[in-house]
């Protein structure tokens, strides 16, 4: 019985929408724009968030960065406190390796930008990373060709290099890069490995555009005292050792290496990847709020539009309601009939909004070369808002229609 009632109500609602196409289209436009605005912002925020989280994940959750500058966001960054700090040194890595028990791996990295040349091909400002042996244990990267450095190659400063996929493509084209000799700022190096293509990283840390060379070779090319060298010591915690425990130990060992007095402030920073996530969380919250407010107002306006059109619809069909009631239609049937119409209107508006969002994500993907996708959660959210608007804006007109007196309704001139 209920099923039949529901089906009949839906049929009536559908006929009403189809017979007033232009009016229906105009009234659902508000909902369409609202759903499009809200879901598009949520989709972009979610996609950015997942891309950034993916990039951070690739840096390693259990890795601590020992650096001169602490990672911090916001306007009150006390840079004058940090500017005179010493940068991490290679000998400190040796000391840490000797004394730390909580670390699984420790590695040193020195960075810089230099020109690469192979015959007539050249890449300017390529990122050069001078790394210590255990670097491969810290960074998650797979090799598509060749191998990583041996401990001997790293310590003796062999002129070998592991290059990123885009560097390999730019320098050697379709040729096999393994064993090829190329120049880094005029110094010869042999390719022994190629890192598997990683794709774009939101944090600009993709290995596709980097060249990793042994630290003792990098000393001849890069200046460790340069402001752009940004020396880092990476420390990766052993399994079942928390970052906090490892950081306590690192702090103690580093203080003794640098001979800091008991109450002296540390002159190094221990940075965790979670700090980046926290910084971005605040940003995403603001963007999400902005989308929520903009879309919320559009939806509110759309809701009023639907409520208005439903009141007009009830007024127009007062005679019909009277006839239906006099033929035995129950109040609940009239209520369902008008409520279905408003829900259906709103749902169509929402679906069109979601379709526009999906098309916008496709356009965004092709324009920005970034993974943007309409998630199931956002799809459910869009449909929920549509139905909710349909119920809230249609209930009062539907209920007032269901309460009409059949005799008076038939008599009305509407």
């Amino acid at each position: 019985m209920l099923r039949l009632l529901f089906k009949e109500s839906l049929l009536f609602a559908w006929h009403s929408i189809v017979s007033n196409k232009l009016r229906s289209m105009l009234s659902l436009l508000g909902i369409t724009i609202g759903i499009f605005a809200i879901i598009l912002v949520f989709t972009i925020v979610d996609s950015l968030e997942s891309n950034i989280r993916g990039s951070i994940q690739s840096l390693g959750n259990n890795v601590v960065y020992i650096q001169k500058w602490p990672w911090s966001f916001g306007p009150d960054y006390p840079w004058w406190k940090y500017i005179n700090r010493p940068t991490p040194q290679y000998y400190e890595l040796d000391e840490l390796q000797r004394h730390c028990r909580s670390t699984e791996a420790l590695a040193y990295r020195l960075g810089g930008r230099r020109t690469l040349k192979y015959r007539s091909n050249a890449i300017e400002n390529a990122v050069i990373a001078g790394v210590s042996y255990e670097f491969y244990k810290i960074k998650n990267f797979d090799l598509s060709l060749g191998r990583y450095f041996t401990r001997n190659e790293t310590e003796a400063g062999y002129r070998v290099a592991v290059i990123g996929a885009e560097i390999a493509k730019g320098l050697f084209g379709e040729q096999d890069p393994l064993g090829k000799e190329f120049k880094i700022a005029g110094q010869k190096a042999t390719v022994i490995g190629v890192i598997k293509k990683e794709g774009e990283s939101m944090l600009g840390m993709s290995f596709d555009y980097q060249v990793a060379i042994p630290f003792n070779f990098a000393r001849q090319i890069l200046d460790p005292r340069s402001r752009n060298a940004d020396p880092v010591i990476y420390a990766k915690a052993r399994p079942h050792v928390s970052n906090a425990e490892m950081m306590d130990e690192l702090t103690g060992v580093l203080r003794s290496i640098r001979r800091l007095k008991p109450f002296a402030e540390p002159n190094f920073a221990l940075n965790e990847t979670s700090l980046i996530t926290q910084g971005f969380d605040a940003l995403f919250e603001v963007i999400g709020m902005a989308g929520w407010i903009i879309g919320g107002f559009s939806i509110l306006v759309g809701g009023f539009g639907i409520a208005n059109i439903m009141f007009v619809s009830v007024r127009e069909r007062t005679n019909l309601i009277g006839i239906q009631k006099s033929l035995g239609a129950r109040n609940i049937f009239i209520l369902y009939q008008f409520l279905s119409e408003s829900i259906l209107l709103s749902l169509i508006g929402g679906l069109v909004g979601l379709l526009l969002t999906w098309l916008a994500t496709l356009a965004g993907q092709s324009l920005m070369d970034m993974e943007i996708s309409l998630s199931g959660a956002n799809l459910i959210l869009g449909l929920t808002i549509s139905v909710l608007i349909g119920i809230i804006s249609g209930f009062v007109p539907a209920y007032s229609a269901s309460q009409l007196d059949p005799v008076e309704a038939i008599r009305s001139n509407a």
């Binding site: 949520f42 959210l381 808002i385 909710l388 809230i392 209930f395 209920y399």
Partner: protein
């Protein structure tokens, strides 16, 4: 049946609370609780809205729907451990509404 003044006040306050809680349905905070949470919260807001309409027209189904929505919402808040200021405010307001509704329950119309 003439609507008592206290129910009119409750309904007006209820409609205002709907205006406030409606945007919360699709707020990032609710979305963080789970994919289906906005849908669930949305349904509860819609049920609450309909119950105030019912109470406005002095209908028994309005009172019953209000109590049902209150019960489900409280259960959900308890499960999700949402014990902020808004929880206690909503509890106080809802319990007050339930007391008023119970006092006038006999006056309410049984029909739709």
């Amino acid at each position: 049946m003439k609507r008592p003044g206290i129910i009119t006040v409750l309904c007006v306050m209820g409609f205002l609370s709907i205006v406030v809680s409606f945007p919360r349905v699709f707020s990032p905070e609710v979305k963080k609780l789970g994919s289906f949470m906005p849908a669930l919260f949305g349904l509860l807001v819609a049920a609450n809205f309909m119950s105030y309409i019912g109470l406005w027209f002095m209908k028994r189904w309005g009172a019953e729907l209000f109590c049902l929505a209150y019960f489900i919402k409280t259960l959900l808040d308890l499960v999700l451990r949402q014990f902020g200021f808004s929880f206690y405010l909503a509890q106080a307001f809802s319990l007050f509404c339930i007391v008023v509704i119970l006092l006038h329950y006999r006056k309410l119309d049984r029909n739709l």
